[in-house]
């Protein structure tokens, strides 16, 4: 190989490497966010309740925000917009899905936690957000969220906001997902 060919093949290798790196950043980013809890990403699998003593010395405000994404005529209501819990205490809150449209649709609630530094300390024991919901026209379904904030939640966190955004799930997508996702809610 001439020196020019060597240089060119090296730069082409670097190019291919960088193109692959751009795509590798996608899973790396998810892993990074999940490990650090950055960006409000939550571990979306069921956890067992940690049986630890309730820290009665402080209260944490837990707020719930629900909203509907585009293209889904649904409403998600929560029984209490805000609850006060002690760290370590397991709490159950009921959410009600209503399909206001005239068709059967599959949808899914995507969770996000703010501030993001609280997300590693949030353990969801049971959540409607682990799976998709399929609602007939006009149907209403009430589903629980059981969660626990662990005692090691940083002391500067006084309020934790859980946001659920509803998105439609395309039918073929939902079947693929169904085939892949094991039945959730099991005590891990």
């Amino acid at each position: 190989m001439t020196p020019v060919q060597t240089t060119v093949s090296r730069t082409v290798l670097a190019l291919i490497g960088m193109f692959a790196f751009a795509f590798a950043l996608v899973p790396l980013y998810d892993v990074f966010c999940q490990v650090t809890g950055l960006n409000g990403k939550v571990d979306n699998t069921a956890k067992a309740i940690l049986s630890e003593e309730v820290d009665a010395s402080r209260y944490i405000n837990v707020q719930f925000v629900t909203r509907s994404g585009s293209g889904l005529p649904w409403r998600l209501d929560v029984e209490n917009r805000q609850v006060q819990v002690h760290p370590g205490q397991a709490t159950e809150v009921d959410f009600t899905f209503s399909n206001l449209g005239g068709k059967t649709i599959t949808g899914r609630a995507i969770p996000s936690v703010s501030p993001s530094e609280a997300s590693p300390y949030l353990r969801k024991v049971q959540c409607f957000c682990f799976e998709e919901q399929r609602l007939e026209a006009g149907e209403r379904v009430t589903m629980p969220l059981v969660f626990q904030l662990t005692r090691d939640l940083p002391a500067n966190v006084h309020t934790v906001t859980l946001v659920y955004t509803l998105y439609p799930v395309a039918d073929e997508q939902s079947q693929r997902q169904a085939a892949r996702t094991p039945v959730s809610g099991g005590e891990a």
């Binding site: 060119v8 670097a14 190019l15 193109f19 980013y29 993001s116």
Partner: protein
């Protein structure tokens, strides 16, 4: 407009040299080049391709400039007068895309094509046919991009940063064409970078070590490495967008488990090195011009090289300073704030070196020197507003205001664009064999420098007062600042017509330039005749290292 007039005289330059009986131009063994349009379509000569790049870039500069003037005309007064907000958005977006990818980057590649082989003593670029291909990709890419304006739903309207989901879920139908055109432009840049690296690393004149290379060559070598590193990331991002739009993936769609913030991270991982791609060659140009007209060797050659390399390396560690308000943890805010401020150090080294070069020099103020000096002053203003923006708590106020617009236009217009103009005035004698008209050049300079400052300086104030960018209307208290900005913009735009006139005049004739067109210039390009014959350095030149 310049496209029709400029290519014509260039063949005259090669025939003129042949007629002039220049020693190096005595080979007859070359086949007669094809005539007419085919000649330009098929040329593999680095000088002809360089000229085509520069003419293309100038054309795009005017098209992007007209888009900017549409924006400024609408913002001349508060309220909506001339265009609809949808069209306004397309104009801001297209202005940014055309100026970044169509004007500034191709201009630097064109200068590299012309000057890198001459400065390292090579007969041509290492890969001449690839060179031809990478140029001709550009007109294809930008015709496609401009054609999106005529498509149903209009052209890109999501800002040059094309944040998802604005550009994916909510983008116009033409977004797929936008992606394709950006892919083509990106491939062109990548091929250009490969060619420049291969030329610089392998084709230097015997005896020229890396640390003997002129700084324009050094800065372009580092720029080319940046291009190799980040253009594939851009290609990756727009491929993900393409798949999100057309193939049902969810890289950036929250509904499917994707993340719009991921888009911003990926984009700015490309985007920040990209802004240095647009300024490092400018540093090289200014480092050639200032010593020439101060008649002193460049102060601190080695520190210039190391500063350029440090800026390039740091550019990979600062991307999230564009995203301070996206919701990052404190640690990340601090990290990106400090790394960003660190960049001020190598940049400060450069500014110091330029000033130290001027110190006790016997300075003359020809047009290229005026542009280079304006570059040093005005780029530094842009650098300082950049430092202000780097302070993350302060950025919470400045974010997405006209302060940001003022900042990046100060580093790009009197920064990158002025350096390109300086380079054109500096090397026109080498390209055409004639000096540019000095009086017209001075007119061009002073109208440009006044126009630029009238346009962008008031934006600092409207931005600090809270005027948001990318909005076609504004509240009344910003009216005066905006009127001044718009008047300045029209002045700057009109003054570029002088630039075109100067170039055409210089190609047609003027004061004859000798090989060594500027008294204080020292690099290899000044050893070949002016105008540079079509083929130079077919036998490698004698290179005597100067002590830097």
């Amino acid at each position: 407009m310049a496209l029709n007039q400029l290519p014509k005289p260039t063949p005259q330059h090669s025939t003129a040299t042949a007629a002039g009986g220049v020693a190096e131009e005595t080979h007859d063994h070359h086949d007669q080049p094809p005539r007419g349009a085919l000649r330009w379509l098929l040329t593999t000569n680095h000088k002809e391709i360089g000229s085509m790049y520069l003419i293309f870039s100038l054309t795009m500069f005017f098209i992007g400039g007209i888009f900017a003037l549409v924006v400024r005309a609408e913002l001349f007064q508060p309220g909506l007068q001339l265009v609809q907000p949808e069209f306004f958005n397309q104009m801001t977006t297209m202005h940014g895309l055309i100026m970044v990818f169509g004007a500034v980057m191709p201009a630097f590649v064109g200068l590299a094509n012309w000057m890198v082989p001459l400065q390292v003593g090579a007969p041509d670029m290492a890969l001449p046919r690839l060179n031809n291909f990478s140029f001709w990709l550009l007109p294809v890419a930008f015709t496609l991009l401009l054609s999106t304006l005529l498509m149903p739903g209009g052209g890109p309207n999501f800002g040059w940063t094309f944040y998802a989901p604005l550009s994916t879920t909510y983008g116009p139908p033409s977004t797929t064409f936008f992606i394709l055109s950006l892919h083509i432009a990106g491939i062109s840049s990548i091929l250009g970078a490969i060619n420049i690296i291969a030329t610089i690393l392998n084709m230097r004149a015997p005896g020229m070590r890396m640390m003997d290379m002129p700084l324009f060559v050094w800065t372009w070598l580092i720029t080319a490495f940046l291009l190799i590193a980040v253009m594939p990331v851009l290609a990756g991002v727009i491929t993900m967008m393409l798949m999100d739009i057309n193939f049902g993936t969810s890289f950036f769609t929250a509904a499917g488990g994707g993340d719009p913030v991921l888009f911003q991270h990926l984009f700015w991982f490309f985007g920040h090195p990209e802004v240095y791609i647009m300024i490092l060659p400018a540093f090289g140009i200014v480092s050639a011009i200032i010593p020439t007209f101060a008649r002193k060797p460049l102060f601190g050659y080695a520190s210039m090289v190391y500063a350029t390399a440090s800026i390039a390396i740091l550019s990979f560690l600062v991307w999230a300073h564009h995203m301070f308000v996206v919701g990052m943890p404190l640690v990340a805010e601090l990290f990106f704030m400090y790394t960003t401020m660190l960049i001020a150090i190598p940049t400060g080294v450069k500014v110091f070196n330029w000033i130290a070069t001027l110190f006790r020099g016997s300075i003359t103020f020809e047009t290229p020197m005026l542009f280079a000096l304006a570059f040093v002053v005005l780029f530094t203003i842009g650098g300082f507003s950049g430092l202000m923006l780097a302070i993350s708590p302060a950025d919470f106020q400045y974010h997405d205001t006209y302060f940001v617009v003022a900042h990046f236009h100060y580093v790009l217009v009197p920064g990158a664009v002025f350096s390109i103009m300086a380079a054109v005035y500096y090397w026109l004698p080498k390209w055409t064999g004639h000096y540019a008209d000095e009086r017209l050049g001075q007119w061009h300079f002073w109208t440009s420098v006044i126009g630029v400052n009238l346009t962008f300086f008031p934006m600092h104030f409207s931005g600090l007062a809270g005027m948001p960018r990318r909005i076609p209307d504004y509240s009344l208290q910003f009216a005066d600042f905006n009127m001044v900005s718009s008047l300045g913009a029209f002045m700057f735009g009109a003054s570029q017509l002088i630039f075109v006139w100067v170039i055409i005049k210089c190609v047609r004739g003027g004061v004859k330039a000798p090989a060594q067109a500027w008294e204080g210039a020292g690099d290899l390009e000044w050893t070949v005749p002016s105008p540079a014959p079509l083929h130079t350095f077919e036998t490698p030149p004698e290179f005597k290292p100067t002590s830097h």
